[in-house]
């Protein structure tokens, strides 16, 4: 389900983008699933067509969806592959941390600092900002 909160400070295109990205990420929308047309989604949520088109464009740039001509916009396999790679990297990091004898809190703080330093359009392709 996609919910649009009119009172939220988050721009509507970002609400649509982030909810779709989350559902693709957690497997709610599996690879190959067709998304509604831009017009239909815009009409359902009471948005301008350009707003939904922007959300779709950013999802496509992030590799989460792909446009297949007349078949419309479908969820690409990239979303799930990215998640698997992140999980593998996390497991490797957990193993390394254990070997080095670093405690859990310290390890989590290091990750948070790394994420904060690397946050930006290049490092977080799904953020769209």
């Amino acid at each position: 389900m996609i919910r649009l909160d009119a009172s939220s400070p988050v721009p509507p295109y970002d609400q649509v983008r982030s909810q779709l990205a989350r559902q693709i990420g957690d497997g709610g929308l599996v690879a190959g699933t067709r998304l509604p047309t831009v017009r239909k989604l815009a009409a359902d949520l009471g948005l301008a067509v350009n707003t939904v088109a922007r959300a779709y464009r950013e999802l496509e740039e992030a590799g989460l969806v792909e446009t297949r001509g007349r078949a419309g916009t479908v969820v690409s396999a990239g979303g799930q592959v990215s998640r698997q790679r992140a999980q593998q990297a996390a497991q490797q990091y957990a193993g390394l941390v254990a070997q080095l004898g670093i405690d859990v809190d310290e390890a989590v703080r290091l990750v948070q600092a790394a994420l904060a330093a690397g946050r930006g359009p290049a490092a977080d392709p799904t953020s769209g900002r």
């Binding site: 389900m1 996609i2 779709l20 067709r34 239909k40 989604l41 359902d44 949520l45």
Partner: protein
């Protein structure tokens, strides 16, 4: 010490809305009440169409009564058109009513602070369910195909051929109007503010689509146009098949067929 009483105005719920919500296990919300009120008002749009259709059927009937020789001469193209206009007017009225209803509900949707929808496209098979989709295909395009074959194989002279094609034309027109109406119902924007109102929207959409495709309309066209144009050995099996489809559509629609989903599952 003085006390004051604040009366919170309660939303009036009519019995139809409450009964519908109970049937589908959904809560009666102010949104649902507003939707049903808008639907009730929109229904009046179809009344003039029904009156026009009835008038045409009356004229046709009076013509047959006042001219007994007409039955012997066989059916004319004008009589076929006049006969077919009654069910076509009924369907046009239903489509016009649904169109007015959709516009009224869109205005309601524009007032909602939150809007929700599904991230998947809505398909005809999902809205109607497989059984009802099969009923639609058999009763409408199926019947057009059947009468086309009948005309091609059985029409013996030019007048018979002309009347036969007029019947096929009437059925095709009806099929087109119903198909356009069905597409409009399936594609209309969702009117929902949360999960339960989205579920209600699904059920209302399914109900509207099923009412529109009821096989009674093509059956009426066949009854009113073909009785004197086609021999009984071809007419009776077609009418029997359509009667069965009507029964199946109604029985399945009210959920009396156990073990058969009345509607395709929609991802939540």
């Amino acid at each position: 010490m003085s006390t004051s009483t604040v009366v919170i105005p309660r939303t009036r719920v009519d019995r139809r809305t409450a009964g519908w919500a109970r049937r589908f296990g959904l809560p009666v919300t102010p949104l649902l009440v507003r939707r049903f009120a808008a639907r009730k008002r929109a229904m009046w749009v179809s009344v003039p169409f029904a009156v026009l259709g009835l008038a045409l059927a009356g004229i046709n009937f009076a013509d047959v009564i006042t001219d007994p020789d007409q039955a012997r001469r066989g059916m004319t193209v004008a009589a076929v058109i006049c006969g077919a206009l009654f069910p076509v007017a009924l369907v046009l009225g239903a489509v016009a009513g649904l169109e007015r209803q959709a516009r009224a509900e869109q205005r309601i949707a524009e007032d909602l602070p939150d809007r929700v929808t599904r991230p998947e496209p809505v398909r005809v098979a999902l809205v109607l369910g497989r059984v009802q989709l099969a009923v639609f295909l058999l009763a409408y395009p199926g019947m057009v195909a059947y009468w086309t074959v009948v005309v091609l194989l059985r029409a013996e002279d030019r007048p018979e051929l002309t009347v036969g094609w007029a019947v096929v034309g009437a059925l095709t027109l009806l099929t087109l109007v119903v198909a356009v109406g069905l597409a409009r119902v399936v594609r209309r924007p969702a009117v929902a503010e949360d999960g339960s109102s989205l579920a209600a929207d699904d059920e209302l959409r399914t109900g509207d689509a099923r009412t529109l495709i009821l096989p009674v309309y093509p059956m009426l066209v066949v009854l009113l146009t073909s009785t004197r144009a086609v021999s009984l050995d071809l007419l009776l099996p077609a009418l029997a098949a359509m009667g069965l489809l009507v029964v199946l559509a109604v029985v399945h629609g009210v959920g009396m067929l156990r073990g058969v989903r009345t509607r395709a599952p929609v991802p939540r």
